[in-house]
């Protein structure tokens, strides 16, 4: 009978719907579960923390950074250590998201089995202890190195993804966050923001790493070509269209007002050079030309493969991804290709990208959790390196790595040289204001090319000057300290 057949058809439809509901439920909990759970809006953890003694947070050398005593959350005795690790730890009043909220599941014993919960009456419940991958002494030294600069420094192990140090300045004292909420403790502007993971900065020339990946992928033989840099590129003021025939120096002063330009830092000209030299000397004109040659959609495609405009859903740390718009004109595309226009990156994203270059193009998932041990000492979780994605093709990574090493050897990043090891890097001096008096954001992102010290670093100093003169020396010292402590 037809009706029976129709009933069977509808029944199959119902089965499909019910099954997809189950699948979606598992999907949403496994992919977004940690995010929802650690959301500052989730007051369920607070309720638990009243009756559970939250576990300790230790650094990779088992130095205690936070613990609970008499129901109060306590932190390291050293003020500098507290300030240096504040953003990684987060506070206990829900003002910032750090390890304390990301790992609340362990710290508050949510990971304990139902049987545990039944066997242990409420009051004696103790959370697990959490060991992080950071080295608190290294963080402290880097914090001191930053002096009065606002900004961030991140060091990762690019082979395992471990975050070895992450410092954001200005910082806050987690011990005094209650006073701050009561209005008794003043904080510097934006001190609660973790600049390393959440700070979106105009990347300037460090973004050329993205542009060069696209160039290597889409422009055949680009490594063998020669490029001419004869001064600023000229664009129509209204349409933003590139005027290839016009040369800046040949324009009269009146004519100059009719156009807009893509310039190099201090209007330098670099003459004729190879791609390698253009990268090492960070020539805007060449990279703007490359960006236009690659084209908006292809540049965007590569950027997205590298995580730009994406949403990172890492298990152990919340990271804002960089963003980019190529706009609808040559002019905007040209500036976007050299890390200006509306491009932004977070220091940790840039560090992951640089790490991928050093690691044959493989981007590792950033890890902050070394191990979890229950109050009774059973190990529940241990660090396992995980590939996030093959972001760059190995042969491209090989070339970019060579160029970055060249940039430190003979280019803009010479201040980052370390004797005894090979350092590669890229500087950036991002213009963030039309007022030329305001300093540029100083960027340095780089790596040590070594199996013994597989470190990637990213340094950002807000409005502090050029990347080569301000950020590179900090990177050098920070890497030297990391080598000393983590050999």
């Amino acid at each position: 009978m037809k009706t029976k057949r129709n009933i069977k058809t509808v029944l199959i439809l119902f089965c499909v719907l019910f099954v997809s509901m189950s699948v979606y439920l598992v999907y949403t909990v496994s992919v977004y579960g940690t995010r929802y759970f650690t959301s500052p809006y989730n007051t369920r953890t607070e309720k638990i923390s009243n009756r559970v003694e939250a576990g300790k947070i230790l650094d990779r050398n088992e130095k205690t950074l936070a613990y609970t005593s008499d129901g109060e959350r306590e932190y390291s005795d050293s003020k500098t250590t507290r300030l240096a690790t504040a953003h990684v730890l987060g506070d206990d009043m829900g003002q910032t998201i750090g390890a304390q909220s990301m790992f609340a599941r362990y710290l508050l014993g949510f990971d304990q089995s139902v049987l545990d919960m039944i066997l242990h009456p409420d009051s004696t419940l103790k959370g697990s202890n959490v060991e992080l991958t950071i080295d608190s002494k290294l963080c402290r030294d880097i914090y001191e190195l930053m002096e009065d600069h606002k900004g961030a420094v991140v060091i990762t192990n690019y082979k395992t993804g471990e975050i070895l140090a992450s410092v954001s300045t200005p910082s806050f004292d987690p011990k005094k966050i209650k006073d701050y909420l009561d209005g008794d403790y003043e904080l510097e502007d934006g001190a609660l923001v973790n600049r390393a993971t959440m700070g979106v900065y105009t990347p300037g020339s460090t973004f050329k790493i993205v542009t060069i990946v696209a160039a290597l992928r889409y422009l055949p033989n680009v490594t063998e070509r020669e490029f001419d840099c004869t001064g600023p590129l000229v664009f129509d003021k209204d349409t933003g269209k590139f005027r290839n025939g016009l040369t800046y120096s040949e324009l009269t002063d009146d004519e100059k007002l009719d156009y807009v330009y893509l310039t190099d830092y201090k209007n330098e000209t670099h003459g004729t050079m190879t791609l390698k030299e253009a990268f090492a000397s960070s020539c805007n004109v060449t990279f703007a030309r490359l960006a236009m040659e690659i084209g908006s959609s292809r540049l965007m495609k590569v950027a997205e493969e590298l995580g730009v405009n994406k949403e990172f859903l890492f298990e152990e740390i919340m990271v804002n991804a960089g963003k980019m718009e190529t706009g609808n004109s040559d002019y905007r595309l040209a500036w976007a290709g050299v890390g200006q226009h509306k491009d932004v990156m977070t220091p940790l994203h840039m560090c992951l990208l640089t790490g991928a270059v050093a690691n044959n193009g493989t981007m590792m998932e950033p890890k902050l959790l070394n191990s979890v041990k229950t109050a009774s000492g059973t190990q529940k979780h241990s660090l396992k390196a995980e590939t996030y994605k093959q972001a760059i093709k190995p042969y491209e990574a090989e070339i970019i790595k060579e160029y970055m090493i060249e940039a430190v050897k003979h280019g803009t990043g010479t201040e980052a040289k370390i004797s005894g090891v090979t350092v590669g890097g890229k500087t950036g001096s991002a213009e963030v204001s039309s007022n030329k008096e305001t300093g540029t954001h100083a960027w340095f992102t780089g790596f040590i090319d070594s199996n013994k010290y597989p470190f990637a670093i990213c340094v950002v100093c807000e409005r502090a000057g050029t990347g080569g003169s301000v950020a590179a020396p900090i990177a050098k010292k920070a890497l030297e300290m990391a080598m000393e402590r983590l050999a």
Partner: protein, 423 residues
């Protein structure tokens, strides 16, 4: 005479009762003082379930055992969680359960023994439209929808009962009418009911009944073109109401990103998601969660509460239990010997299926949330009674077809015997 054999499934029922008893036993330790009332409650519920099973089989050997056992399981989980949320509500729920069970038996007996339901299509049609229209003027607004009415001090939600009436009316009209002209009246009926529900902002019920009507049209007539047209009209209606009604627009917006409006519209969905995430795979444990943070925690959002305390794995099992109920319902429909009862039982099955999909899908943010109760589990008398009445339809149809089949078999045997004698 040969008899149709049925699988003995009392063992399963004992398992279900044991599960519920264990739950209440755990709950009895939850407070500061030992709670004897919980045990009493559990024993009452358990005895009730066993009694219902026995009476059901007494009324008809052909009653479907699995439908009642799965329903018992769902009801038991509901009572358990309601008791944990609010003891008083749980007792009231138990009372509604008893009323519902009585109605279930009455409907079952009516279907098994009489043709009552085949004659009430016109009155039901008029009453449904009348009740919903009256509601439009005198209804009480709860949670943004004007769908409550108070008669003699008792609050109830007529749209819950309209669901059953709706299925009866459609089943009757679709039984032996195939020409397009014959379908005009049921179509007008569907559009009137859905339209009124939309105006009363009872989006959940509107979507549910519209979906049910499409499925019933398809099952009865097999006209794919007509049904697709219906889907198209529904889609246009959905898009239209998105632009016309701000509350529909708001629903879609909070579905796409509940966190953007966390402090206002998105609060409920966000809280639900956080509850599910907090529970994780295994749940925080019965009585340990914070269900009261979610608005409507004891009815629309009960699924999130269950996931928080029992875990996602249990949530998936719950979805599976509904699927079992739906599959058994469809089997009852497939075994029905008369088209009217086939459509009637499948209509009820469809209501239960769609209703669980709409609310669970909404809570887990798979589809935009429209408020509707979770069948058998949510707190609320009207919903519980209406669900049990639909259960009565399913059991009644199962009993009726079993009986008809046996009679038919007896006739055949009789014929064969006379044939033999003649020969």
């Amino acid at each position: 005479m040969r008899k149709i054999k049925h699988v003995n499934s009392a063992g399963l029922l004992f398992l279900v009762v044991a599960f519920i008893m264990t739950g209440f036993f755990l709950l009895s330790f939850a407070g500061e003082k030992y709670d004897f009332l919980a045990l009493l409650f559990a024993v009452t519920a358990g005895v009730l379930m066993l009694a219902v099973y026995v009476i059901l089989i007494k009324i008809s050997r052909h009653a479907d055992r699995f439908v009642i056992i799965v329903a018992d399981l769902l009801i038991g989980i509901g009572l358990l969680i309601q008791y944990r949320l609010n003891t008083d509500n749980a007792f009231r729920q138990l009372l509604f359960l008893v009323v519902g069970i009585i109605l279930m038996f009455i409907i079952m007996a009516l279907i098994k023994n009489t043709k009552f339901f085949e004659y009430i299509s016109w009155p039901l049609m008029i009453v449904s439209i009348a009740v919903l229209s009256v509601l439009f003027f005198v209804g009480k607004e709860v949670g943004g929808a004007r769908n409550w009415i108070i008669i003699a001090g008792i609050q109830f939600q007529p749209s819950e009962f309209v669901k059953l009436a709706f299925v009866v009316v459609l089943a009757d009209w679709l039984t032996d009418r195939y020409r397009f002209f014959d379908l005009i009246i049921p179509m007008i009926f569907v559009f009137m009911i859905v339209g009124i529900l939309m105006l009363e902002r009872d989006l959940g019920a509107a979507v549910l009944l519209f979906g049910t009507s499409l499925i019933m049209f398809y099952v009865a007539t097999g006209r794919k073109g007509a049904v697709l047209t219906g889907v198209g009209i529904g889609a246009i209606g959905a898009v239209g109401s998105y632009y016309l009604f701000d509350h529909v627009k708001a629903r879609v917006a909070i579905w796409l990103n509940p966190w953007a409006t966390y402090t206002t519209n998105g609060y409920q969905i966000a809280q639900g998601l956080m509850a599910i995430a907090t529970g994780g795979m295994w749940g925080v444990g019965l009585g340990v969660g914070s269900p009261k943070l979610i608005p409507m925690y004891n009815n629309d959002y009960i699924f999130a509460v269950i996931c928080e305390e029992f875990g996602v794995i249990f949530g998936i099992l719950l979805i599976a239990f509904y699927l079992v109920l739906v599959i058994r319902g469809a089997i009852i429909a497939l075994n029905a010997t008369e088209k009217f009862y086939m459509l009637l039982s499948f209509g009820c099955t469809t209501i239960i299926a769609l209703q669980s999909i709409i609310i669970i899908g909404g809570v887990i943010k798979m589809i935009p949330l429209t408020g509707i109760t979770l069948p058998f589990v949510s707190q609320g008398g009207s919903s519980m009674i209406a669900c049990l009445m639909m259960l009565g339809v399913l059991e009644g149809v199962s009993a009726r077809s079993g009986m008809m089949l046996e009679n038919r078999m007896a006739e055949i045997e009789e014929e064969m015997r006379t044939n033999e004698n003649e020969a």
